[in-house]
Symmetry: C2
Subunit: 288 residues, 2 copies
Amino acid sequence: MALFIIRYGEVGLKSKAVRRRFENALRRNIAERFILQKLECRIELDWGRVYLWTDETDKAAEILRKTFGIVSFSRAIECSSDKQDICANAAALSKPLYKNGMSFRVKARRTGQHDYTSMELAKEAGSAVWLANEERGPSVNLTDPDLTVYIEVRQNRAYVFSEVVQGPGGMPLATQGRVLGYVNDGRGAAACWMMMKRGCKVIVATDNDDLIRKLRDWDPNIKVVDSVPISEVIDLARKFKVDGVVFGWSLDEFEYYQSQVGEMTLPIFHPLIGMGESDINELIGQFI
Amino acid sequence: MALFIIRYGEVGLKSKAVRRRFENALRRNIAERFILQKLECRIELDWGRVYLWTDETDKAAEILRKTFGIVSFSRAIECSSDKQDICANAAALSKPLYKNGMSFRVKARRTGQHDYTSMELAKEAGSAVWLANEERGPSVNLTDPDLTVYIEVRQNRAYVFSEVVQGPGGMPLATQGRVLGYVNDGRGAAACWMMMKRGCKVIVATDNDDLIRKLRDWDPNIKVVDSVPISEVIDLARKFKVDGVVFGWSLDEFEYYQSQVGEMTLPIFHPLIGMGESDINELIGQFI
């Protein structure tokens, strides 16, 4: 099975309890998405990392790219913390990726006790990568290489990888409250997306199937209800006992719509209120 | 006197009336800042541009960098639209900037009727720049040159410049409503800054002199009132007849603070609600 190392974390995860809640939500969210797609995986948590084993590497990458809370992930080779073993795996990883005339570097880090330093390990693995690609004219470039081989040693296991893929960041879904999102256009969807990224579960009131499909990429379990006139949104929100309502208004539109919403007995969130049109379009382009 | 060309504009400036209001507010804001600093300037509006003449170039640049609504600006040489005149000015502009072995390009654009095309003008001005710097070994690089000489011909005038400085963008101050900003920390200040960038005049309730000073860089006329306990913010807002209240809460903090604000009879804006801590810190770093 292939292994993915998944990195998460927002500054501000201060307490152990918050961290545990964050980790468990992230693990549950990833597992649910695999189950929904009838894919098998195994997930383990360890000190600021999630390890995921699966045979479906392409589909897994697709899921991880759209799971809130994930900062980045890497497909990795796992081996023992034995130096020779690591060097052999670094060399093996580099061979199919190495092309004539490419430059490379090795970056190594460790946690735990070992009979080598990170620097020694990087140097030795660097030699192994060099020898494995000798006929391709390798060169070392520490600042801007064509290929970076990363080595992470954690206690008695080591992980070797070459690529770090960005995730969306933010907080895992369902680590914050539940809100109702009023989605009649791309801006409404963008506003929901921002609240989802902050960890909210969003119930979407919309009649736009395209936008539902886009939001479902990020929360496959997203609850969708039929849209209502804007004057009835607060009633709808009360019915679903949500903690607040999300709108995609910009400041120009605020006055016009606000007056139509009626009595505000629930918190209203408009996460786009401080953004200009070009910022909002960029945001929509990012997730649609 | 030195001339600055100032570019503004947000997508969404659709109607002529909105555009005029935007332009007049921008002109007034720039003029006010010069007056406050006892600096002289002359300002003219023309088709999506503001022209500003002043002797105080450093102070002017400092002001323009922190005036909302300005997308970019350039210090320019003004001359007639005569081709020889433009070429001579392009050459003169390049000479003090040109160093041995540098590459350059000339970019030209025109509005109005002339006896040359933009392409012809760029070619001829390119030759003039080349000749002026011949002993420094010039070379042309159209994609990533060390120096770009920009030429803009507008009817019977032309402008030659080499630098485009980014402004903050957004909407000029006072093109939107008035809000009360509750500022007890950097996040509160960042939230106010975002609403100011959207065109709001913000009255700041704070006891933090450092933050006042930072916000005053962006609105020298900013009104500051003493802070109050959070439970009295709404009363304060009513007293000043503002259109809404601005807080710097993130979603985590929302529930805690919201309950302390009391009855929400005014719109509440929390422009940071959809942002993570690293986004917010980046924002604070930008304007503080």
